[in-house]
Symmetry: C2
Subunit: 240 residues, 2 copies
């Protein structure tokens, strides 16, 4: 049975402040929790209903009722399990190969999708500006579908970080070199900007080459592609 | 002032049944409504607050209060305007060039993103299986960001449609020819499958060539890409 204090504590982890104070984050649903259990991430506690089965023996498992799960879940139809995991120790950013850098991404779904794309395209380092949504936000964890455990993510002062970089810095803009006809250095940084405002002026000044995905046809009325969609196309083009 | 009946009628259009009975659909927010007003779609009614400004003179505009807008809006923070537009007359599907075909896409956000991608990459025809989410669902209209007005969309019995097609039929699978090293016929149909189950067996039997986006790196643990993300990569690769 869940105590009032347990419920309060679990719910508190939906907020960044409490995640950071406790160095813990939430994951929900069988698929994501199973991936995290099997990863190098450390388990703090698993709350599962009687129907939750995992092939591993989990000492931290507490069986709860469907009703209790509903009380701590963000889902309309909760899916068997919620886990609390430790936020891993910070590592130094990797400065080799292709790094993706995000300038103030706000939407958790977009960040989760970008993490999944980095995993798919074997981008081992993701750099986020300090104003980018927290990667341990439950909606990001959900959208990243376990890829969170396989991509190294660092939050930095993006302007200071880029100023010290020796690799080539690419930025994605609506006007720039056509991505399909330009050569790309694989040992480089690819910057993507905020959903509404794109790359900020401060960061634009540090970008060495501007790249763009050309629009096809005569109409040219679509304003822009969603940032996660654009990331998919850029990574595909870099890695193909 | 909005009458009770008006409010009830507007809200009813959130349901497919009532959209189809009335041949009307809802659009919300300044950007999307402005795009629809400027398009060939016919305006039925526009409900805007005093702050809503459009450069065109709109006879169908009714000024409402912020409070009334909240009553008919799906948004937590409604954005000035809700429009009701006529669902356009059905046209015969175009059978030239590249057609994207969807086998039971469920998520409105995914369909909206795919419509936006078709617009960006100048794919003029989108074919949806009858079980695909309705393209006039308010969340699809929202996510398509006005691209809905520039892409022709037909709902069909997908199996019957593909059986009669003379163009080459490609399908996207987890195992198939590497998209980056295979040649693509531009006069063709590209089939994408359901979020959870992929392309159904019945449709798979009609696919002539299976294509896949290869996964990079050694880990190969990411199960699959989101269908909208995969569409972005396939269309980019077809059109580049």
């Amino acid at each position: 049975m869940l105590s009032k204090n347990q419920i309060k504590f679990i719910r508190s982890l939906k907020k960044k402040k409490f995640r950071q104070a406790n160095r813990l984050f939430l994951a929900e649903g069988v698929k994501v929790v199973d991936e995290l259990i099997s990863s190098s991430f450390k388990i703090h506690k698993i709350y599962g209903t009687a129907s939750f089965q995992n092939t591993l023996k989990i000492d931290e498992l507490q069986i709860i009722t469907e009703k209790e799960l509903k009380m701590i879940s963000d889902f309309t139809n909760p899916n068997q399990v919620i886990g609390i995991f430790e936020i891993p120790e910070k590592k130094e950013p990797l400065n080799q190969g292709l790094t993706v850098a995000l300038d103030d991404i706000n939407d958790p779904g977009n960040l989760g999708t970008i993490i999944r794309l980095c995993d798919w395209f074997s981008v081992s380092q993701l750099i986020c500006s300090t104003n980018t949504v927290d990667c341990f936000n439950p909606k990001v964890v959900q959208a990243s579908m376990g890829s969170l455990t396989r991509v190294q993510i660092n939050y930095v002062d993006l302007s200071a970080y880029l100023s010290e970089e020796k690799r080539e810095i690419y930025g994605t803009f609506l006007d720039g070199e056509n991505i399909y006809s330009s050569e790309h250095e694989m040992n480089s940084i690819l910057v993507l900007g905020n959903e509404a405002n794109g790359i900020s002026e401060r960061i634009e000044a540090l970008v060495q080459r501007k790249l763009t995905i050309p629009q096809f046809g005569d109409q040219k009325q679509t304003e822009s592609l969603n940032v996660a969609t654009a990331t998919a196309i850029f990574l595909s083009e870099f890695k193909r």
